[in-house]
Amino acid sequence: MSDSRLVQADRPTVTRRSFLKVAGTGAAGGALLAMLDARQAPAQLKGTSLRVILWSHFVPAYDAWIDDFARKWGEQNGATVRIDHIPHLELPARYAAEFAAGAGHDLIYFAGQILTGQYYRHLLDLSDLANDLGTRYGPWMPSAKSAAQVAGVWYAVPDYFISIPVLWRKDLFESVGRPAPKTWDDLRVAARLLRPKGHPTGMQFSHCNDANHNWRALLYCFGAKETDPSGQSIELDSKETREALRFAKALYDEGMTPEVFSWDDASDNRYLASGVASWIHDAISAFRTTEDTNPKVFKETYVLPEAAGPGGTWNVGEPNVWAIWKFSKNVPAAKEFIMAVANSQKEAMGASRGYNMPFLRRRYDKPMPGLGQDAKLGTLQEQDKITAFFGHPGPMTPAAQEVLTTFIVPDMFTRVARGASIDETMKWGVGEIRRIYAKHKAA
C-alpha cells in the first residue's frame, strides 16, 4: 500500500553535483535480472553518461521501477544513466528551452503533448528502431504512426499510451436497479438516479488535461470527427457534434453538480476515492488511488473500457513517445536505452499496475501483465481496438496540439453546459479551430 505514496525511490546514491562523474564500474555490479534482454552492449557505451528526461508518472511505482531499471542497465553497460522527471504539462516549456539552448537531455520524451511535428527537423530519424520493434512485436497500432511519424519517417519511437476508461460503483448502480453500464446513455441514467441520493457523477468542464480527453471521447463515441483522416479539413461542424453537445448538457443538468467547473485533473480521482462519485471517466491512476486510500469503495469499483455511443466506442488515450535531439551527446546509448525499455515492456506494464498500454500488437497477447490476472481490468486487454487520440481521425499535428493546449473543446462543452446555444457554440468553436489550422497551414 505504501509504494504508491512514494515520491521517488530511496534517494539515489548519486551525490550532489556528481551526476557528470563517470561511474564506469563495468558489468561487475549486480546480477543481471532476467528483465534485461541479452543484447550485446556495444563497447562504445562504456564510460559514457546518458541523460534522460521523463514525465512524473501518475503511478509512482512505475517511476521507481524505471529509475531502478536505468541504473541496472547502466551498470550492465558501464554507463551512467540519469533520469530526470518533471510534470508532463511542463515538458513543452523545458523542450523549448533545450532547443533554444542547443543542449539538454540526450533522450527526451513527449508525454501526452506530441511535439514530433514541431521539432522533427531537429530530431534523429529513428526508423531503424521503430521498424525493428514493429517486426518483432508489431505491427504498430495505426495511430502510433500519427504520434511518431512525419511524412512517413519515424522521428520518434512510441512507448506506451494511457487509456481513460469508465470507473463505476457497482453497489451504487445496483442500489437503483441498474445493471452494469455499457453505453453513455446507461451512464446518464445512472447519474440521474443517483444524484438525488448524494452520488452524482462529474467530468471536468475546465481548462485541464482530462477535460480535453474526456470530451473528445464523448465526441468520437457520437461519431463526430475533428478532421478528415489527412488532417487537412475540419469536419467538426456536424450533426454528430451537436448531438454530443446536447448529450453533455443533459448529462450535466441531470447528474452533476456545479463543482465540475472548477475541477482539475485530480478532482475526479478524489471524488471517487471519497465515496461520492457514482462513476467517473478517468485513467487507472484513480483506480489505484482509491485502492490505496479507500479500500471499502475500491471493492465496489469496476472498470468499463469505454461507454458506447451512437457513433461507436472510442476511448481517447494519451500517447507517450521517445525522441532524440540531433544535438544529443550520446546517441548510441539513447538508442540502446529505448530498445532496452521496449524489450522489457512486459515488466514495465506490470510495474505500472495496469496503467501503461502498449502500441505494439503482439504485446496484447494474453494474459497481459498487470491486466490479465486482474478480474476487474481484464477487459482492458482489448483497449487497442477502440483507442483514438486527439485530432481523430486526423493525425496529431502541431495544429491539433495547439487546439489541445488552448482548450477549445472543453470550452465548447462548458458553454453548452452553462446554457449557451448549441449553434453559437458550434460557430465559435469550429471557427477557432479552423483559424488555428489555417495558421499552421500557412506556416
Binding site: Q118, H207, C208, E402, T405, F407, T414, E432
Partner: protein
C-alpha cells in the same frame, strides 16, 4: 528648477575652472568637472545597464522579432509577417476576454491593495503593544514562495474539501455541501476571477501596508502637530499633508506592483489555468498556452506584448509626473 527635477541638490565640485594662484587655469574639455562627473556617473551606471541591457534588452528585441514573424518553437527563425499575429489575436474571441480579465484583475487588485494597505498602515502606525509581532505575522503571506502559497489556496478553494467553505458553513453563512449555496470558488465565472484576484491581494497587501507605513512615518511630527495646533481636523490633516507627502511613494510602489501583477502567470496558471471557459484567462496564460505549450511562438509573443504599447507611455507619464512633483 534643475535641482528639483533631479531631486537632490547640488553636486559637489560644480565650478568650471580651478583658481590657481589667482589665475583661472582652463582645463581641456574632458577634464572639466562636468564631464568628469558624467564619466563617473556613467561608469557607475554601466554595470546595471549592461547587465539588464544584455540579458533583458536583447531578448526583448528578440521577442519583438518573434511577434512579427510566424515562428514556432521548433523553427524560431521564420518568415516576417508584419502585424499579422496581432490582428490574428484581435480576431480571437478569447483574446478579448483575456484583455478584459487582465485589466479587471490588475485594476481591481490594485484598488483592493491600496484600500487594505492604507487602512492597515494606519493601524500599524499607531503605537501599541505587540506591534512588532503583528507586523511580523502580517508579512508572512509575502515571504512564502508564490508557487507554494498558491497551491495552498488551491486546496483551500477546493470544491469538496474547502476549509473556507467549512468555516463559512459552520458559521451559518452559506449552505451545506451539495446545496446550491455552497460556493464553488474556482468554478463560477465571476467568483473565479474574484478568487484569483483575492489571492493576489492576499499576497501583496501587507507589502503595500509596509511601504505606506514607511511613507507615513516619514512625515515629520512637527508638521502634524503644527497643523493640529492650527485646528486642522483629522481629515484635513490627512488630505492636505499626509496624502501629498506619501503620494510619490504610494504611486511608485503601486506602479511596481501593477507591473509585477500584469506579468504574473503563477496564480491563474496554478489555480484555474484560465478556466472555466476563459473566465480567468489573462494575457500571460493565454500567451503561454498558445506560444509555449501550443508551440506557436510568434502568436504567443504577440499576445504577451500586446499591452506593452499601452503601458509604456502610461508608465513614462506616471514616473515623469512624480519626479516633477517631488518636494
Amino acid at each position: 528648477m534643475g535641482h528639483l527635477a533631479s531631486g537632490g541638490g547640488r553636486s559637489p565640485g560644480a565650478s568650471l575652472s580651478v583658481p590657481v594662484g589667482g589665475r583661472a587655469k582652463a582645463l581641456p574639455w574632458w577634464r572639466t568637472p562636468s564631464v568628469r562627473r558624467y564619466l563617473f556617473g556613467y561608469t557607475l551606471l554601466a554595470p546595471a545597464v549592461l547587465y539588464v541591457g544584455v540579458l533583458v534588452g536583447a531578448p526583448f528585441l528578440f521577442s519583438l522579432y518573434l511577434a512579427l514573424s510566424d515562428a514556432s518553437v521548433g523553427a524560431p527563425v521564420a518568415r516576417f509577417v508584419g502585424l499579422e499575429n496581432f490582428t490574428s489575436a484581435l480576431e480571437t474571441g478569447v483574446f478579448w476576454t483575456a484583455v478584459r480579465n487582465t485589466l479587471v484583475f490588475t485594476v481591481g487588485a490594485a484598488v483592493m491593495k491600496g484600500f487594505l494597505g492604507t487602512t492597515l498602515a494606519f493601524l500599524l502606525v499607531q503605537p501599541f503593544k505587540g506591534r512588532r509581532v503583528v507586523r511580523g505575522l502580517v508579512v508572512i503571506p509575502f515571504t512564502i514562495p508564490i508557487a507554494i502559497s498558491v497551491l495552498g489556496w488551491k486546496w483551500m478553494f477546493d470544491s469538496q474539501f474547502s476549509v473556507l467553505n467549512w468555516a463559512l458553513s459552520g458559521l451559518g453563512l452559506i449552505g451545506e455541501y451539495g446545496t446550491p449555496d455552497w460556493p464553488v470558488w474556482l468554478g463560477q465565472p465571476m467568483l473565479a476571477l474574484a478568487s484569483v484576484m483575492f489571492v493576489n491581494v492576499w499576497r501583496s497587501f501587507p507589502f503595500s501596508a509596509i511601504v505606506l507605513l514607511a511613507g507615513m512615518t516619514s512625515v515629520s511630527p512637527e508638521i502634524i502637530d503644527a497643523a493640529k495646533v492650527d485646528g486642522a481636523t483629522f481629515m484635513q490633516r490627512f488630505r492636505k499633508i499626509i496624502v501629498p507627502m506619501i503620494a510619490p511613494i504610494l504611486f511608485v510602489g503601486a506602479a511596481f506592483d501593477t507591473v509585477f501583477t500584469l506579468s504574473d502567470l503563477s496564480i491563474v496558471y496554478l489555480l484555474t489555468n484560465g478556466g472555466p471557459d476563459g473566465a480567468t484567462e489573462i494575457l500571460p496564460t493565454l500567451a503561454y498556452n498558445t506560444g509555449i505549450r501550443g508551440g506557436a511562438l510568434g502568436r504567443g509573443a504577440a499576445i504577451s506584448l500586446f499591452l506593452f504599447p499601452l503601458l509604456l507611455p502610461a508608465m513614462v507619464l506616471l514616473l515623469r509626473t512624480l519626479r516633477r512633483r517631488q518636494y
